[in-house]
């Protein structure tokens, strides 16, 4: 089936099997490998992308469901080489270790901050519960999101 998707501002037209998952279109067809696959069941959040402004798990969405829509992946978050405040926060606060959950975690956190400019620590912890991290114990991730929130409010 023909699928037309805008990814990070670029238009892509591909002919894919109807059962192709969005994450496989992004990774294997388009070649943007920053979006990761950790569980294939929507539980770990490594595959999180932003679809029409909403953070979704791309491992359980068909590519055809994203037809005609806009996707932002981790590769599209920085603006002209300038890191997004959430990316910057993760770097500043050591919000990552192995980095595998990080793209999804960053995109979830970005959406959280778009919905709530000044989240409490509890709101951040709840807000990222759909993304699993095995390395950090989450504390530096919380710090990173708070750093970004402050920066985005400034």
């Amino acid at each position: 089936m023909k699928v037309e998707i805008t990814i990070n501002g670029e238009d892509h037209v591909h002919d894919v099997e109807p059962r192709t998952l969005l994450v496989h279109l992004i990774r294997d067809v388009v070649g943007l490998t920053g979006t990761h696959i950790g569980c294939e069941t929507s539980l770990c959040g490594a595959c999180t992308v932003v679809l029409n402004g909403e953070a979704v798990k791309s491992c359980t969405i068909l590519a055809v469901q994203a037809d005609g829509q806009e996707v932002t992946t981790i590769e599209g978050l920085a603006n002209d080489g300038e890191l997004h405040p959430v990316q910057e926060g993760f770097w500043e606060c050591h919000g990552l270790q192995c980095g595998f959950c990080t793209p999804g975690m960053i995109l979830s956190a970005t959406q959280l901050l778009e919905r709530n400019r000044k989240p409490t620590e509890a709101e951040i912890r709840k807000g990222i519960e759909g993304n699993l991290c095995r390395c950090t114990g989450y504390q530096h991730i919380i710090d990173a999101v708070q750093y970004a929130a402050k920066k985005m409010r400034a």
């Binding site: 099997e17 294939e40 069941t41 490594a46 770097w91 950090t136």
Partner: protein, 775 residues
Amino acid sequence: MPVSKSVGARIKRREDPRLIQGLATYVDDIQMPGMCYVTFVRSPYAHAIIKSIDASAATDLEGVVAVITGEDVKDVGGVPCAATDFPNVQVPHHPVLATGKVRFVGEPVAAIVATKRYTAHDAVDLVEVDYDPLEAVASGEAALKDDAVKIHDTDTNLAFTWDLEGGDVEGALKSADRVVKERFVHQRLAPNPIEPRGVAADYNAGDDQLTLWSSTQIPHILRTQIGLMLGIPENRVRVIAPEVGGGFGCKLNVYAEEAVLGFLARKLRRPVKWMEGRRESFLHTIHGRDQVGDVEVAVQNDGTITALKYTVVADMGAYYQLLSPAIPTLTGLMLCGCYRFKNVAMHLRAAFTNKMATDAYRGAGRPEATYMVERIVDCVADELGVDPLEIRRKNFIANDAFPYETGTGLAYDSGNYTGALDKALKMADYDGLRKKQAEMREQGRYLGIGLSTYAEICGMGPSTAMPAGGWESGTVRVDPTGKVTVLTGIKPHGQGQETTFAQLIADGLGVEVDDVKILHGDTDTVQYGTGTFGSRGTAVGGTAMIMAMEKVKAKVKRIAAHLLEANADDIELKDNRYIVRGHPEQGVSLTDVSLHSHRGINLPPDTEPGLAEAHFFEPTNFTFPFGTHIAVVEIDANTGEIDIQRYVAVDDVGNIINPMIVEGQIHGGIAQGLGQALYEEVIYDESGQMMTGSFMDYALPKAHNFPRFELDNTVTPSPVNPMGVKGVGEAGTIGSTPAIVNAVVDALKPFGVRNIDMPLRPEKLWRLMNGGASS
């Protein structure tokens, strides 16, 4: 405080720009022209005879390139185990694809190669395997009963035995004022790095060269083993561990899939790739723990513990993986914890069961020791009616007793156990907490305070004490223009050594952190190495690099002295310049020296041109980090839910190179330790079926499960290496599990609770608080 310009500073990680922008390359990101995808057909039975395999429908599927079974790989060597020197040992052949029989759910039976990812998955269902199911045994203790079904074609499921004895345990037990006993279950855990395992392989027939990309912690060991398994010269194998998305010990191994992918790439002369799914990860990536042990301690009325005896059954699973048998022996070595137990014994029986192998998972044997010791100390306090703090103080190894030889024959390098304890008590306001607890109990509320004063064994390790070499290698290379490249035999996968090693080099050689590049994980680039595990990366790998750097520095000083017409002994490094002592105006930079050395003329006599040195570092001992963790919990009597109100951790990991990275390691370690205490458990039912094969059924901790961890540290340098570091990878995991369980048991004391098996699910607690039986 920085101890110098870079070392000791909170420097942002140099790994991060690629990771936060999606620019890193993990195994699944590798694409090659003509690459095929591999999937595995796995056993749905825990124990069965394979009567026949019909792969014709799969082979006929369009896009399927090949289907192979055990028959096709019968010449491939078995999955290796490096630790088999034990009494009464059985070492069963561990085929890369099952032949004749399957012995656990998830065991690979056939491999499919297809041109497309989805086709390879479709074909799995088309391979018809006719099984004749057999009775299965799914617990270590059950497997050791005489009438248990036998897993290998022998008359016992006993895998091996191991006994450790120091002092006179039986005598001390006989003469004790009392003997305190308890049984502890260390449940089976799944490591679950968020990146599952994955392998890609490519064979270049022209060069007779096999390249294997694997998400591994041990690229060099893997290369040696793949060469042996496939029967090809080691120098015809190149292993690349690209970006690795977490390991926690489960990627410290050699797996069947790695050999099969190498075999397929050579046979088909096409690049191939396999990525493990999460379900496969639960089934066929090693598990951790799975020990059941009975402990007895001899106690005097004043609280002195004079002996400890631990009788354990360890569940190996159906086959050994690389280090399976060695793991419970690490439990044995750490039986003393941070205490003066001179009479200690461990009697271990290891059993084969119809389950996946157990092996090294973060802590690897030491969490079991620490949990058992820290829990039994609390039980002793309970029986004597004293605060658990008193028993700890009474039995601590004294601060002036280091180096200290333990009852298990180890020499603890350095320690200050009361220092960490006192600091943690103060941070937590221990006395205040006890008062609050008493007040809350009056109100019918259940506050619990749990202590864990742990010591652990890290920096692995001396080669004499390891199943294979315990040394590490480092090469320091200065480019002609003065930039530095380091080759290290370790394989960081989240630990941040691209940053901390650069900090050490920057200070040591007089360059900026950004002038240093750390290379690792490619066996064609880096000299041999041992890898990243056992909290050894910096303590052993870092030391190898430092030693190599010192050799470079000595040469730089010789050349600088020659250029400055001074004596090499008078050259010192100041503000990134090599100056003549007392004459800062007379100096040269590393770039000046390196350019000169690479130009190759006018060098001091007997000096080789170029500027690179290597060092293979053999540590003389392990290192022994320690600390005190304090957990404060409140249990809701209506729901059994645990509210972790505070978590205080004071860890001593020796000198600290980058405090931010050390905090991150401790945080992550605590989270995994709490995961064991509260949430995680791999469950096989009696027939050996995996009941927890997804994140729906196996609870990995989430962000909202934890409070903010309150951290501090004491610094007791290790004398084992010149940096005085001890290692920090596993401390948090080892220290945290007993703290939280002690806190919960403490909270439930009014209900007569003395022990609860992990994980501490709310239902268990609710039952205990509402008249149910203890689990």
